[in-house]
Symmetry: D2
Subunit: 377 residues, 4 copies
């Protein structure tokens, strides 16, 4: 693991997700840009001190010298955005598979270079768009792909948070600090941190790509250096349109990602507040409440579920589903039986490139007086 030291939120999430199913062992790490903090984290995690490194450069160097069967096989990168591309490139160059937090990189250029390197090396590269790991998101995607709703017309996705309603970044909050700092976060604030999740989810579930956006990015909290609020009108392929909201100043909201998709014959609704439920709304029928753990859901949904109906699964399980899919691909790679990468159903470097393009497009649109801006891939 690279990153994920004492103040990290997402590092612990990656570890829990990797451990949950007993398929991954954490054997080495460079947990912080501070050597001391890295050692401290490694000790807390009970790692062999010889494999707790002062920097990721040291990690790559020393692991490379280990015999192949002892060496780190895959690297989880959970650093702030500006420290994504470099360790990811080096991991690939050292023959390690990579699972990395979103957004993929600091900017679109880095993202494209990473994609090139992934293509060259043929290694497994996963991006943790965690929400796509939820079983009912799989069900939603499955039902839409099966044509249940006819041609899609409207896609509404929203991701309201309230935690940045104040200048937390000036009150010593590490998470707020780097996420609102353009030198570490990149060109997007809210639009990068949560807007990319929302856009990715909308595209993943609908199967439609965003083609044009009309964005309104705001820096609501005075003195902040990045947008903390984003709204956009969207145009998708095949005539669908929609709205995206991603805001971190909806004071009192938690983390309430919500997706609604409507087609000619009905629609669906999924909310992160109640992630084991998918509402299916067909014209002139009662709304149907689909639930995880039931017999009537799709195979792909079942595959991403651990428990019978009525036993809630949550964020860590969704996250772990991405780890499981990544792990399957790594195993297949190792035994020389890698299938088409899309078939493993985890977010890839391509999703990462689209995410970085989305940030760029949204920022450009927001700065423009013209209504529509083409997706800048």
């Amino acid at each position: 693991m690279i990153g994920g030291g004492p103040d990290s939120f997402i590092g612990a999430v990656h570890r829990n997700a990797a451990w949950l199913d007993g398929k991954f062992d954490l054997v080495a790490g460079a947990f912080s840009s501070s050597a001391e903090k890295s050692q401290q984290a490694g000790a807390q995690l009970g790692l062999d001190p010889n494999r707790v490194y002062d920097s990721y450069d040291e990690l790559f160097e020393k692991e490379q010298k280990l015999p192949k069967n002892q060496r780190v096989e895959a690297v989880a990168i959970v650093t702030p955005n500006h420290v994504h591309a470099d360790p990811a490139m080096k991991a690939l160059e050292n023959g390690m598979h990579v699972i990395i937090d979103k957004p993929l990189s600091f900017d679109l250029d880095e993202a494209k270079q990473l994609k090139k390197k992934v293509d060259e090396t043929g290694l497994i590269f996963a991006l943790t768009h965690s929400y796509t790991g939820y079983p009912m998101i799989k069900e939603a995607r499955h039902q839409i792909a099966g044509g249940k709703f006819g041609g899609l017309r409207k896609i509404f996705v929203e991701y309201p948070q309230g935690w940045l309603s104040h200048s937390l970044e000036k009150e010593g909050n590490k998470q707020a600090s780097w996420r609102t700092d353009p030198s570490r976060s990149g060109a997007g604030g809210a639009v990068g941190d949560i807007g990319t999740h929302a856009a990715n989810l909308a595209e993943y579930v609908s199967g439609l790509k965003i083609e044009r956006v009309c964005a309104d990015l705001n820096t609501v909290v005075e003195g902040r250096n990045l947008d903390d609020d984003a709204s956009a009108l969207l145009r998708f392929e095949k005539g669908a349109s929609g709205v995206l909201i991603a805001t971190q100043v909806a004071a009192g909201e938690e983390n309430d990602l919500k997706l609604r998709v409507f087609g000619e014959m009905g629609g669906l609704e999924w909310s992160h507040k109640d992630p084991n439920t998918l509402l299916i709304k067909m014209l002139d029928e009662p709304v149907h409440i689909y639930r995880t753990g039931t017999d009537y859901v799709a195979d792909i949904t079942k595959k991403n579920t651990r428990l019978p109906a009525g036993h809630p699964e949550g964020y860590l399980e969704a996250f772990a589903n991405i780890y499981l899919a990544f792990g399957d691909a790594v195993q297949d790679y190792n035994r020389g039986a890698l299938k088409e990468i899309k078939s493993y159903d985890f977010p890839t470097v391509e999703d990462g490139v689209r995410g970085m393009a989305f940030i760029k497009t949204m920022v450009e649109s927001s700065n423009s007086n013209t209504k529509w801006t083409k997706f800048l891939l």
Copy 2:
């Protein structure tokens, strides 16, 4: 009553609302542009046949000849939009108070003329933006006005319906027929029918006026002659921004108006699905579920509530609240004690003018390649 014949939806609503509190009697009507249907409706309603008229012109003419204490005192106009302004003008000219369905008129010009006439005559003129009659909408407005949330930042209002997902207007549905016909409905389809409700509610509750919009109106169902889907980015006074969604092609949705407002210190959420509830979300506090019929709500909320907590009130009660407020004004007018019209807290001709301007602005914005369009009052 003018309009409200056999195929009318809103005519029956107005009658129930007027009757509910025992304060209004229905004594006369011109219920349809068809004399026969008007008589039929009058008979069903048990009216004196002498006061069931073939046309509203006849109504005004004949009622005017009755002694003042027998004559119709106030007229409810519940016709399609293109038959709003004419009977409303004539009612005012005949000294009758008017309560009229929204949107106010066919276009902004008519609306302005009506406003002029109302100002001239000093008669009472109410517009049934029904949702503003809900007790928890009063509570929301009250709490915001009291400064509970600090300066407002974000306003999200949405009004998804699914009933126009097909070409109902070609299947003999009267409601769909006039509402999708520009010669009867005016320049706006969804934006006029439900978008005006959404905009009015957002302004009423927040106390902030919309200053600019960036709209995307769509005619989703092929062959339809008016928009059936509208989305817009909004800029309000005092730096607040927001999003408005009003769509009639969200297949499977009912009539799910929802408003969320966020300020510096918290926010609120109201949904038409559960109208007796108002969620109050303060930063770092549990969400508080405010409910109608309780002791802790504001006086204005109590005034608009009939039942103790736990006894649901609905759409007709909200509608009736507008009738009650209108009735109070009429009574005060009659005894020469009319107070400032705003103090009665019902939607007025001014709201109607803003509604028509909103439609015009949205249509113009949607046709423009420029991002922002100023509110065209």
Copy 3:
């Protein structure tokens, strides 16, 4: 109207319910045991002072002298329980139809005498078990009667309130005062006031009669003279069993009547908090959310609905549905075309007798050390 003066809750409800559909006029009343308060109420209601009476005896005497076509046709009795039977008997003796609040009477004997009188006179007699007027209660009953769930197995009904968590009766609260006073309320406190609603609803929807109960009645608040809390195990006809909860000391609860019925193949759930929704739960299927105002519900459901889907109706509308059904029967009676009384689908004197028997059975069971007590009809 008899009762329904200044401090009455249910009097206003009856009036709103009667007025809502424009089918009833309030023309006379004896609104209080205090002549002064009766006059005051009549004046507020705008009645002809000649028909506001000092007592219900006076009402019957004077109305009887009016010409038949001017005379009160039906009487609404909304007094405390101990003043139910006497005015009801006198109304029937004077040839007036009766609509009366529940529970029917002070005790079972009175109830049986009333039933005898109703049978003798053939007049229309309705009991306002208001919750049975909800459209989704009609739908629930319809679906069960149609055999959708197979043989019924479990019936859970609960009615938690919190308003009597303190000794409100000692703080000048009129409602609390008579409802906790055995000399005015009868043998049952919570069990009479809300337990009868719960039992009636369970029987009405399931179509099954309670045969045995095992009750635990408690007087939770010190110094109170009647039960304020009741729970019971139930045995129904045809092998079904269940649980009933009716408590007025569930501090923080409003008025949350809830019914769940389960059969061999599925079950249903209805909650007063969201009365326009009925959850249908079939084995191995998604839960189906049935909603009022839709096309797919039963005719009887549609008949009890005024508005299209997504327009909430509430308690007054449900109450008004009982008035409408009662009015239909009165009209048919008047034109000599009365059908079988059950066909009008309003609660009758028989329901009232069962309600009084229920109270008696519950009290006796609670006082007994034997587990099961037969229903004492």
Copy 4:
């Protein structure tokens, strides 16, 4: 691990829960009474074949011969109820700590013997009453213990499931097979399987012991050999009373454990459907929605939460909290610093004894004609 082979539901749950936080390694197992199935499970789990045993007797024998620092330290017992006591006794005799699924044993006698052995050995013994691991259950218990609601009055706990609505046990379902078989499950069916969870949760949260019950156990599905449905009136210490429902024939229900507790000044509600939420209902206040991951909850709640607000945690996380607490105790034991066992806040052998006594009491009460049966400890 003992048990948890191919057809086990709870075995996988224990493994996920143990793994989630990276604190436990699975090193050995006797996964089935069939040696072949045990080996198969061990292979699937990637265990060293030398430590996959044909029986738990072999496990104890062979592990005992390993050097202490390699030997199994704690045993998870996840077999059907009739194979609980024997391996648990042997584990304790072999100096191993035990974590065991509920109910504790086949009958009360076994339970008492186990308790005796635990007391003698001083080893750590945890019982996985999983629902007590939820953070909002901790919060509920904390708020009640702090006196927020005053003296407790009413406790309603219900646990409706629908999965045994048919004779699944005759259709080859392994779970249904042993759970409805008195020779494997013990004297209780639904009352043992889920009733014990409900009773334990009610006692844990309220801090009050059940003193008397009046139970109605039913075998609803024809031909079944154990109760599949249980209801009971409850009397708790200190004057509180309540109702318990535990049924497996509520067709269409999932696993909807729900607890409501009411005191003099308010109450709380927790539902397994939405486990990260706790409703706090104080008299004359808005209902407060407490949520996991927030700053305002108690320290014990925070300790049992992994993620910030808005990131749902579920059943596995709650289960893992019990493993974490058990692991803390084991660690303290190992370093000779064991604190008072209650302080670790996991369900102990005492809870297990109470659970078995609860089953016995419920069965006896159901067979009795006397209303109340004392808790048979």
